[in-house]
Amino acid sequence: MNVKITTLPDYTLISVEGRVDTTTSAGLEKTLMESIDGGCTKIILDCSGINYISSSGLRVFLVIQKKMISIKGHFNLCNLQPGIREIFDISGFSSIFSIFPDKEAAMIG
């Protein structure tokens, strides 16, 4: 898994590539938490490069969403591949996350 962070004036863009699974999810959680602790209140997570997610990865998404809601921030997801979107649907995550078709929509949302 690779994570790329771009800090912009209005939001932080985080692009994740590869597998978000039992072995990589802790690293992703750490990176996202560091951004939030650093004062970031709007994260756009570009999921276009995520080709696999398991419950360990979903756990991290939920932890971050809870955290963002508690600080009244925004955690916007975009570009989910169909297979990943299906896992979100099955888990009931599609209704508790802000999911956008692309980065542009996620910026406005």
Binding site: D21, T22, T23, Y52, I53, S54, S55, S56, L58, R59, L62, V63, Q65, K66, I69, G83, I87, I90, S91, G92, S95, I96
Partner: protein, 139 residues
């Protein structure tokens, strides 16, 4: 019935072996890419539970995984471990209607297995757990 077997240790590092095995299985048996993706998920969830919670000692244990493909295009996976008795079919499904604040962290792994596979069965025989998962290849 075609059968292939994989044996892994009770170590998280063994999961990468499963990924490689499933890639090969998908090619050999001509499985759709979407199904291979789902099987990766199912296997990670099932094995992670066994490896993390199945054993009270620190000894090395082996987990046997048998994959079968029937003439009727039904795929079966049997996971056999000698860990503590645990019947995942008894685990209650998560409440998907809860808000973000109310949703508990975790508890999705077994639910994902149940949703992805057509059938999930459990047996305890001779101090072994048998988790039997089946799915029609084209469903």
């Amino acid at each position: 019935m075609e059968i292939k077997t994989l044996v892994v240790d009770n170590q998280m590092s063994e999961l990468s072996k499963v990924v490689d095995f499933l890639d090969e299985l998908g090619e050999d048996w001509g499985l759709p890419a979407g199904l291979v993706f789902s099987l990766n998920l199912v296997m990670e969830e099932a094995l992670t539970n066994i490896i993390l919670y199945g054993f009270e000692d620190n000894n090395r244990h082996t987990i046997d995984i048998n994959f079968g493909k029937s003439a009727a295009e039904e795929l079966s996976i049997t996971i056999i471990d000698d860990g503590l008795p645990y019947d995942p079919t008894l685990k209650a499904d998560p409440d998907l209607s809860l808000s973000v604040e109310e949703r508990p962290i975790g508890g999705l792994g077994i639910f994902l297995i149940k949703k992805i596979m057509d059938k999930v069965e459990y047996q305890r025989n001779n101090s072994n757990n048998f988790l039997i998962l089946t799915k029609n290849i084209n469903s």
